[in-house]
């Protein structure tokens, strides 16, 4: 697997001190099955915040 995010890091540049996602983290972001469950989880979290705000 390619080191997806690492190639953009520039030595001692602006982005040298941050973290970048690895290939698994990147794949999970668009994995439909995993994201379906995240969709439910995020919706629940948002509804809780919405309910606390009204």
């Amino acid at each position: 697997m390619s080191k997806y995010g690492e190639k953009n890091i520039k030595a001692y540049g602006n982005n040298f001190t941050t973290m970048t996602p690895g290939p698994v983290a990147k794949w999970m972001r668009t994995c439909v099955i995993f994201q379906f469950f995240r969709f439910i989880a995020i919706n629940i979290k948002m509804l809780v915040v919405v309910s606390k705000s009204h």
Binding site: N14, T30, C31, F36, R38, I42, V49, S53, H54
Partner: protein, 489 residues
């Protein structure tokens, strides 16, 4: 019969007017004064700006919706408030000027018992030389602040992509066009949607994409940044944002006050006092916001604008405007009822209320130029404020003038925010975030200022789905279709 006049038909004003009309029924009158013929779901302008939606997808005609709701609708802009009436009458009124085709320029006085100022902002392009004149966008950059601006932006972006396809390298510069801007989130969404579209077009290697903003650190977003629970850590939004910028190969300039815009070039001043220039082929810079310039006149005809409004043109409400230095700021400085302290029947909500101070730490360059984000008052908080103010006014109309006011302080409410990072049913991503509360309360939540049980963020396809669903859900709600009251703000 009492009359409630709402100035502005954006998220906050529309929410206030429609709920007030529902709660008051036909026994009382609700009047909306807005210069626009169409309602615009502004968050989706980002997708219009990259050609993934049309203007028609994000707007609809207001007149039939207000006719259905029993709301009197004036397509006009408000010029002034006369909260004490005039020499011949004690009845307060607003002076409005029609913007409707056929009657444009005609003025009229509209009396009120209660007034909600929800005008939103003046897009103050004129604050930066070359960015525009007054509230008009200039010729050098584009904007996504209105649907029409976004259509223009998409057209210019298309030209830029065509040049890249023809082998011409392009510099794309996105961010804020002044040291005192807010709405970094919109620019954040736009830059990543552009990056996504450029990649889709197969010309990512021909684009140098750069961010410029007045934030002192990436991920400030005008709320002083936030800490989100992730992987067992409370992670700063700085890490979160920088990570995304690194991943998408987007460079950045921060702590920048753009002080000049010319054809293909901007000038800026940084927090360290140094000056710089940046060239571009395509640029979208958010303008600073100001009040719309309403005047206030007392019964004797004297100008009392300074009494009712803050110097930036936003309406004073029940905030603590004397908090002073950053070290003295408290969550309780923030307003909760949005009632004007001088005139109890006048309220403000959404961007139109004057915040007590920024949320981000105020900073300035050694030259004395203030460079820090001003506080956001859009989206979910804006809708909640509108509904709260409408609730208070309806209670006072229906139960009597002593009815207690409802409260909704930004220091006690949260917000859900979905920032698109690219559109696509299976390829899109968005940063889904919640923040609680919007204004940090360092006494209640020592350290981060927020409850990290309810402040989180993650990037993924699920966020994109939510953003897309919210687009349809909020337009459904704004059109007052079946079940609209069940959809939260």
């Amino acid at each position: 019969m009492a009359r409630l006049v709402v100035l502005g038909g954006g998220v906050s004003g529309h929410t206030a007017a429609t709920f007030a009309a529902k709660w008051l029924g036909s026994a009382h009158e609700v009047v909306v004064v807005t210069p626009n013929a169409k309602w615009n779901w502004i968050p989706s302008n980002i997708w219009v700006g990259v050609g993934q939606m049309t203007k028609e997808d994000v707007t609809f005609d207001l007149a039939p919706v207000y006719a259905k709701a029993g709301i009197t609708y004036h397509q006009a802009k408000a010029l002034g408030i006369h909260p004490e009436g005039n020499e011949t009458s004690d009845k307060p009124y607003v002076v409005i000027e029609s913007t409707k085709e056929g009657s444009a320029g005609e003025t009229e006085n509209v009396e009120y018992d209660y007034l909600i100022n929800a005008t939103g902002p003046k897009l103050n392009f004129g604050a930066t030389p070359g960015l525009g004149e007054g509230s008009e966008l200039g010729e050098h950059t584009v904007s996504v602040c209105t649907a029409d601006h976004a259509v223009h932006a998409a057209h210019e972006l298309d030209k830029c992509i065509e040049k890249m396809k023809a082998g011409e390298r392009q510099k794309i510069l996105i961010g804020t066009g002044h040291g005192m801007c807010t709405c970094q989130g919109a620019a954040f969404e736009y830059i990543f949607n552009i990056e996504h579209e450029v990649k889709k077009a197969g010309v990512r290697d021909m684009a140098d994409i750069k961010w410029i903003s007045n934030e002192s650190f990436l991920g400030d977003f005008g709320v002083g940044g936030l800490h989100m629970k992730a992987m067992g850590f409370a992670v700063s939004s700085k890490i979160f944002a920088e990570s995304l910028f690194a991943e998408r190969d987007v460079d950045w300039i921060i702590g920048a006050h753009v002080n000049k815009v010319e054809s293909g070039k901007i000038g800026y001043e940084l927090l360290d006092g140094s000056m710089g220039e940046e060239e571009f082929d395509f640029s979208m810079l958010i303008p600073p916001f100001a009040g719309v310039g309403l005047k206030a006149i007392n019964k004797a005809g004297e100008d009392i604008t300074d009494t009712m409004f803050a110097p930036n043109g936003f309406l004073k409400v029940d905030a603590n405007y004397g908090a002073g230095a950053y070290e003295n700021w408290k969550a309780s400085d923030w307003p909760s009822t949005y009632q004007n302290p001088t005139y109890g029947n006048v309220f403000a909500c959404g961007i139109a209320f004057a915040p007590p101070h920024p949320i981000s730490k105020p900073m300035s360059s050694p030259n004395g130029t203030p460079i820090n984000p001003t506080p956001p008052r859009t989206g979910m908080p804006s809708g909640i404020m509108g509904k709260t103010v409408a609730h208070s006014i309806c209670d006072r109309i229906l139960k009597g003038e002593d009815a207690p006011l409802h409260k909704a302080s930004m220091a006690e409410m949260g917000a859900a925010c979905v920032a698109s990072a690219g559109k696509g049913l299976f390829s899109g991503t968005a940063a889904a975030m919640t923040i609680y509360p919007v204004v940090p309360d360092f006494e209640k939540y020592p350290g981060t200022g927020r409850d990290t049980d309810y402040t989180f963020g993650e990037i993924g396809l699920a966020g994109h789905w939510i953003k897309h669903i919210l687009h349809h859900l909020f337009i459904w709600k704004a059109k007052l279709k079946t079940g609209w009251t069940m959809i939260p703000e």
